[in-house]
């Protein structure tokens, strides 16, 4: 059994100390979290010599990953010391796009930024400064803190991710539904892991919108699912358009048309209620609005859902029965839940199915997490410095009460894009772009975002490599440190883990050092710490800012954490709603208006949104736009994860690129034959907005009308300057996606349910979409 028991691990070699000497190497036990990007925070052993990381191993004594590592971490030394890493602060000397820079000092860089910030403060107001970050980077609180406490601006945003379609739809509805969030319980909050007597293996996992083995989304080590299948006999229900490895091992694989999952999940709720498989006790005592949910679900018979999603009605029934009878069942949800216009109602349906089955916060169920010690690891970190007037200027609050009330407080990317383009409601003058490469990765309609970003007066990029985004728009580029070069920590969610600096790289500084040194020059009183270590101690101790009760805060210092390596707080329990740990008033129940899981959402009702789960057809689909579908007769899903890369990163790392050299589009063999291509051939993937080219991979499990394309591709081996720009639009699937089409809450966007046509790339039609975008603004 995989536990953290020391049994089986050679303790002469793997020690419990946090640091020791092994021959010529200093070995440091710590944890790894960005750069490069990742959603985990695995425990590692760094073997360093002369201030340089020579080797890395997974720490077998860590209950988190138990020694295991993925290929990106295994090869990370090659990434750490890649010759193309940014080494010094740079200032642009040519035109934007020319990729001409001069080396400057950090002081010169900070002075330049401060001068521009102060000018914008004076002439436009702080709200004209937008800060943004990429996903899966250890800057979830650092960039917001700089934005709010340093720049005085409410406009911190997620890099033009349309509909904030990553996690925020799920976290937001989670907070409206039960005042909290949930994660599938794989024993990750228990120090003894699977060996803890309180832990129960889930009987079923309902897996929707992710392939966690590859994606490891949201602080969840995907292979924990394999652990529970192997050790606990856990079975799977998988909704996925493609037969992933997990789907092939599932009892029930429901091959849904991309974007239709909500119809299936609501139909499953219908069956569970109809056949009386729900948990009467939990529904009666801890849920609100069951009758309304039942009535809504009745509209979604398995037959209706089957027709929408293209799956067998009987399979929906059987899957629903299996989940309804599972004790416990749990839900493993992921990004694709968010990447439809009905991301919020789909997430609401998944919360509802778990609640009516009594799976909320039970061992092996849908566990309610919060950050250990209530550490403010959030996009709201530092927001307390903003006046109500300034908060009211946050872009997006006008149109959505969810944004206005600070549920997952960020500005809305679609609204920021509009403001850049139109100058309304006010002009955007500066972008502080920290570890995000939007035009290569997360920005839907990448050519449009490119045009907007390069039109902004002053831009700063903080990153580890030169990127197409930086070349296109940056005036200052700052080199940031990788994980081994920073003093930091990982908390999301539990336990708290150290990130210890063991190496230096030229003049690169950690994100913590950068926000501290820059912030000090703007508002020294809000950045009182002398160094990154003091800053980290403040952060670790800054808990209980938002919650009255659980978790309690700590007075642990950062150096103390480094020695502990992993810190398990003692205030963990299941069924916290019974203990009065969740509500601000300390009473039992959930932290909602009604104190219950709101199957019928009272906040949504008050705001004029549909208070119950529903299904909405993707805005472009065989059903909603049949005429358009004749011209673009394939359903396009995007963004399936690869083992080798984290989004747009690591294309320059030789061993990883060797394993996955080209952008791939999956086609059914009949579809490939129909358009006359074989595996490895280049094809155009095209729709109304643009096109890109990718190479064919044959995937016999797909439906013939489904096309599945990779995202995040650019080519660091090519020229950076115009008109090459690292080929960023050549294979960019976001030439086809759309901005500004979201659910009514502004959350959720149809990244993964588009339509397209496909045809072979030939000598006659081959051209560079990057050149096209630079010359005409469009990928056509």
């Amino acid at each position: 059994m995989l536990t953290n028991e020391l049994e089986g691990v050679n303790k002469d070699v793997y020690k419990t100390d946090w640091q020791w000497q092994e021959g010529e190497y200093t070995v440091t036990r710590t944890n790894m979290w960005t750069a490069p990007g990742c959603h985990n925070g695995c425990s590692v052993l760094y073997y360093t010599k002369d201030g340089k990381v020579e080797k890395i191993e997974g720490d077998p004594l860590s209950p988190y990953n138990q020694g295991r590592l993925c290929m990106r971490c295994l090869d990370v030394v090659e990434t750490f010391y890649h010759p193309d890493r940014l080494k010094y602060p740079l200032k642009r000397v040519g035109e934007r796009g020319e990729n001409k820079w001069e080396r400057i000092t950090w002081d010169e860089a900070y002075d330049d930024i401060v001068e521009h910030v102060k000018e914008i403060w004076r002439d436009y107001g702080p709200e004209s400064i937008v800060s943004m970050q990429g996903t899966g980077r250890n800057i979830c609180w650092q960039t917001p803190y700089l934005s709010y406490a340093g720049f005085d601006s409410p406009n911190f945003v997620l890099g033009f991710l349309s509909g904030d379609a990553c996690y925020l739809p799920r976290t937001t509805i989670g907070h409206c539904f039960m005042g909290d969030f949930f994660v599938a319980d794989m024993s990750q909050h228990l120090e003894q892991r699977y060996a803890d007597p309180e832990y129960v293996y889930p009987e079923y996992i309902l897996n929707v919108g992710n392939n966690a083995l590859v994606s490891n989304g949201d602080g969840f080590f995907g292979h924990w699912i394999v652990d529970v299948m192997k050790q606990g006999g856990t079975k799977l229900i998988v909704l996925d358009p493609s037969c992933t490895w997990l789907a092939s091992k599932a009892e029930y694989w429901l091959q849904v048309r991309p974007g239709t999952d909500a119809a299936v999940v609501i139909a499953m709720i219908n069956v569970i209620i109809e056949e009386d498989l729900y948990d009467h006790d939990f529904v009666e005592n801890w849920c609100y609005g069951f009758e309304e949910l039942a009535e809504r679900a009745r509209e979604y018979t398995p037959e209706i859902a089957a027709e929408i999603a293209g799956v067998d009605a009987e399979l929906i029934r059987e899957a629903a029965r299996a989940f309804g009878k599972a004790n416990p069942g749990t839900v493993q949800w992921g990004l694709k839940v968010d990447q439809t216009v009905c991301g919020i109602p789909l997430a609401q349906a998944l919360l509802s199915i778990g609640a009516i089955c009594g799976d909320i916060d039970v061992p092996g169920g849908m566990m309610i997490p919060r950050c250990a010690y209530d550490i403010p690891d959030s996009y709201g970190c530092g927001m307390w410095f903003l006046s109500d007037e300034m908060l009211g200027k946050m872009l997006g609050v006008e149109t959505s009460p969810l944004h206005a009330l600070g549920f997952d407080p960020t500005a809305n990317g679609d609204t920021v894009l509009n403001a850049i383009e139109t100058g309304e409601p006010y002009p955007i003058r500066m972008q502080f772009i920290q570890s995000t490469n939007p035009i290569a990765n997360m920005a839907a309609d990448a050519p449009r975002v490119y045009r907007a970003m390069k039109s902004v007066w002053y831009n700063v990029v903080v990153d580890v490599f030169m990127t197409p985004t930086a070349i296109a728009c940056a005036d200052i580029v700052l080199p940031c440190g990788m994980s081994c070069e920073r003093n930091s920590a990982r908390v999301w969610w539990w336990p708290l883990r150290s990130i210890v600096k063991v190496a230096d790289y030229y003049e690169a500084k950690s994100d913590e050092q950068i926000i501290l040194e820059l912030g000090k020059r703007l508002h020294p009183e809000r950045f009182p710490w002398n160094d990154d270590i003091e800053l980290m101690t403040w952060w670790i101790q800054a808990g209980n800012r938002f919650h009255a009760g659980w978790p309690h805060k700590t007075d642990e210092t950062f150096p103390e954490l480094c020695e502990k390596v992993i810190d398990w707080p003692d205030d963990w329990a299941y069924r916290k709603y019974e203990l009065g740990w969740l509500r601000d008033d300390g009473q039992p129940g959930f932290n909602t208006n009604t104190g219950r899981c709101e199957l019928y959402n009272t906040l949504f009702e008050a705001w004029g949104f549909d208070p119950l789960p529903y299904y909405e057809e993707p805005p472009e689909s065989p059903v909603s736009t049949p005429e358009l579908f004749e011209e673009y007769p394939y359903v396009l899903t995007t963004g399936a994860r690869t083992w080798e890369y984290f989004h747009s990163e690591e294309r320059m790392v030789p061993r990883l690129r060797e394993s996955h050299p080209d952008p791939l589009t999956d086609l059914h063999p009949d579809t490939a034959a129909k358009i006359g291509v074989c595996a490895g051939d280049w094809i155009w993937v095209e729709n109304m907005r643009g096109k890109c080219k990718q190479r064919v991979r044959i995937n016999p499990s797909l439906k013939p009308d489904t096309v599945r394309s990779e995202h995040g591709w650019w080519f660091p081996e090519r020229e950076g300057a115009y008109p090459s720009l690292y080929g960023v639009f050549d294979c960019n699937i976001n030439n086809l996606t759309v901005q500004g089409v979201t659910g009514p809450t502004l959350y959720g966007a149809p990244y993964a349910n588009q339509i397209c046509k496909i045809y072979p790339v030939t000598k006659e039609n081959d051209e560079s979409m990057t050149v096209a975008v630079i010359n005409t603004g469009e990928a056509k």
Binding site: N10, G67, C70, M71, V226, K230, K249, S659
Partner: protein
Amino acid sequence: MADEKYGLFIDYTWCTGCHSCEMACKVEHNFGEGVYGVKLFEDGPRMLPSGKYEYNYLPVFTSLCDLCAERVEMGKLPTCVHHCQAACMKYGKVEDLAKMAAETPRSWVYVPEQ
């Protein structure tokens, strides 16, 4: 003991195809482009007559696999076993692994030259 042979056991029901063995091996031995001590093979997804899908991965060890002799000497496990994300690989004496294989459907034991 000269006659004690060591090998690797793979419970490939659980091999998810994560490539960690492949990469761990390349890094450990500093293998260049196109050189592998273990290479991952993929079979599927392929539909069975029942309509279910077969989807298998198998790490295939090459003639360059030395069972991480240097690591084993230090008291560590071969790096592929240590880092396997599905924890479906074991290192040990061939006779012990063979017993394990007899009790584990869809598994195999690899014995390198030694």
